[in-house]
């Protein structure tokens, strides 16, 4: 009995070991492309353009690898960020377009869009969850069916709409308003479905109690249901935020002025140049991806919930 027990334990340990080994391999596969990009971004131009390529820029004429001879550099980041001496408290100023224009623009687009999407999707998700009215099913299905039209062709019409609006000389109007509305239209359908799912999970009895106590339906929505739905709406906010940050093609086709460009469009500043600037391109990729990775690491639970919810529902 004793021996059998110990045999069982070693077998379980062996399976555990195999599982961990497998997971480590998979994690390496997931990290490899990112790691190579980080490596390239910290190299000098002379090491990026070597034939055959070297993984670490650490070889000397006599030795294949010498830790003290490594030629790491921040040349790529330097070119993207373009720091200049300045008289502020830091002593320097980042003058690259990426930092000065593209990232603030994208933050503006992403924050505004996500905020508006949360409000609209929250209101309509609540209505779809709590009321049965004529056209309920039709509207829900239509909202989902809308997502089936390829984005690229919606852009044919949206492009012409954008041109017409620009020509109409509406005071204070510029592309930024239009792109925010367009992004809202892109991210609303799925958000409505996700929001409805989250509202469905909140018991009605709480609202009914508030109604009996003399709350108006809107008051009950605002004071009772919304606070309970906050985590779900946060998920909608984050998904939309990342979606707008990562969106390329609409920004590329609809934004006409350089100072309105978003980050993904701005990335193309570094692509037009020739091949020897791989380290600059890698640095730009890292700088653009990093904020989203950090955001994800802090809010991953919310993301996971929204992903599963969104996939099952839509």
């Amino acid at each position: 009995m004793n021996m059998k027990n110990s045999l069982l334990i070693t077998r379980r340990q062996r399976t555990n070991l195999l599982i961990n080994l497998g997971l480590i391999l998979v994690t390496l596969f997931a990290m490899l492309p990112i790691a190579t990009t980080v490596l390239v971004s910290f190299k000098k131009e002379q090491d990026v353009t070597r034939k055959p390529p070297v993984i670490f820029p650490c070889d000397t004429p006599t030795q294949a690898f010498d830790w003290s001879a490594c030629r790491w550099s921040v040349e790529g980041y330097d070119r993207v960020l373009a720091p200049e001496p300045a008289s502020n408290w830091l002593g320097f100023e980042l003058t690259g377009n990426m930092i000065r224009t593209y990232i603030p623009n994208t933050l503006l687009y992403a924050t505004t869009t996500s905020f508006l999407v949360v409000i609209l999707a929250g209101l309509s998700g609540y209505a779809f969850s709590r009321y049965r009215f004529r056209g309920h099913r039709f509207l829900m299905i239509s909202i989902l069916a809308i997502t089936g039209v390829p984005l690229l062709t919606n852009l044919l019409a949206l492009y012409q709409m954008g041109v017409r609006l620009r020509k109409a000389n509406i005071p204070l109007y510029d592309d930024r308003f239009f792109i925010i509305i367009v992004y809202m239209g892109f991210f609303l359908p799925l958000s409505v479905w996700i929001a409805k799912g989250f509202f469905d999970a909140i018991p009605r009895e709480l609202e009914e109690a508030a109604l009996i106590d003399g709350c108006s339906p809107l008051g009950a929505l605002w004071r009772v249901t919304m606070p309970l739905a906050a985590p779900g709406l946060m998920a909608v906010f984050l998904l939309t935020f990342v979606g707008v940050w990562n969106e390329f093609i609409a920004g590329y086709l609809l934004i006409s002025r350089n100072d309105h460009k978003n980050v993904m469009f701005g990335l193309y500043d570094f692509l037009g140049q020739n091949i020897v600037n791989l380290q600059v391109l890698a640095a730009a990729c890292i700088l653009i991806a990093l904020p989203m990775v950090i955001l994800f690491l802090f809010t991953r639970r919310t993301f996971f919930k929204a992903m599963v919810e969104g996939a099952i529902k839509g």
Binding site: N16, I19, N20, L23, V26, T27, P33, I34, T36, T49, K51, P52, P53, I55, A121, L123, S124, A127, Y131, R132, F133, I146, G148, V149, P150, L152, T153, N154, L156, A157, L158, M161, I181, M184, G185, F186, L188, V192, E208, L211, P217, L218, N246, E247, F248, I249, M264, I275, L278, C285, A289, M292, L295, F296, F303, V308, A311, I312, K313, G314
Partner: protein, 314 residues
């Protein structure tokens, strides 16, 4: 008061106009950004641009589209891409989910690391993978282009042409660039599929697995006869949603291969981009878009049907 409550609770029709006002803003945005462009696309697909303006040409755009050899070639590429992409992603996703399901202690740590690819924009993923195989300078090119490893001349992923097809004109076996595109797409989609499958795997009741174990089923039999059948609806949802993203995603092709070398990675969505926005044949692009939309709608309604079946028998 009672009237208000009964109106609120009445599951059938409500007389209140509140839900209408709650949904209205969402509907207005969707009409402007999604419905109008979709209808415009349908109209556009029957038009041809003449110097004087648009003229009605009926189904001429569709006929011309079917007449080009690139169209049938693109369908072949799309099929190869979708089959490769969905099967690689689903198979790997299932294995990773199994591994994560077996390791309870560290799974949170692994999940966090494994999920980072999902948060990175498709356009950046394309660039990151491109950096690895840039002819001569990419870190993977150092291995792949070495004639000693891949005889006779080594392999440059981004420039190698398609091998001679086996079946008439059908694009199989695919060009190395297509294999690489499938790898990059799978790399980005894996976290999503893994999470979905893991969530489904954790709902498989452990009693069933334990009792079948007692009855003498081995690990493979448990997976084959218990887990897979119980997870089938989720797998179908994952398959549809992968197909949907694969049909419509254009960002990764845009930055990784640009449809090349030659036309070997030109799938339908990229063809839509290039005839619409490079060659400015809007009518033909719209016709192609409608065909893609039909496939999308089939996939969406399939997903809805599967999830509804799942809701009915939990």
């Amino acid at each position: 008061m009672r009237q208000l409550l009964s109106r609120y609770k009445g599951g059938g029709q409500t007389q209140t106009s509140l839900p209408f006002w709650l949904i209205l803003p969402t509907i207005i945005v969707l009409l402007a950004i999604q419905v109008y462009p979709a209808l415009y696309t349908a109209w556009l697909s029957l038009q041809e641009r003449e110097p004087t303006g648009w003229t009605f040409v009926g189904v001429e755009n569709y006929k011309r589209l079917f007449g080009t050899s690139l169209f049938s070639e693109s369908i072949g590429h799309t099929i190869v891409f979708l089959v490769g992409y969905t099967s690689v992603t689903l198979a790997l996703g299932f294995i990773i989910a199994l591994l994560l399901n077996g390791n309870v202690r560290l799974s949170g740590f692994y999940i966090t690391l494994l999920f980072i690819p999902w948060i990175i924009a498709d356009i950046l993923v394309g660039l990151i993978f491109r950096l690895m195989v840039v002819p001569d300078y990419g870190l993977l090119s150092g291995i792949l282009q070495n004639p000693k490893i891949i005889p006779p001349n080594g392999l440059s992923v981004l420039t190698a042409v398609r091998p001679t097809p086996w079946f008439g004109n059908f694009a199989f076996p695919p060009a190395p660039a297509m294999d690489f595109l499938i790898l990059a797409s799978a790399w980005r989609a894996l976290p999503f599929v893994t999470l979905l499958l893991l969530a489904a795997m954790q709902t498989v009741p452990s009693e069933i697995i334990e009792s079948s174990r007692i009855d003498g089923a081995n690990g493979r039999q448990v997976i084959r006869h218990i887990m897979i059948p119980l997870m089938l609806p989720t797998m179908v949802v994952a398959l549809f949603s992968l197909t949907l993203s694969g049909m419509n995603g254009v960002g990764m092709i845009f930055s990784l291969t640009g449809g090349g070398p030659g036309t070997s990675t030109e799938v339908l969505s990229y063809m839509l981009y290039s005839i619409g926005w490079d060659r400015l044949q809007f009518g033909r692009a719209a016709a192609l878009a409608l065909m893609i939309a039909v496939v999308n709608w089939l996939l969406i309604s399939g997903t809805l049907r599967v999830t509804r079946l799942e809701d009915r028998n939990p």
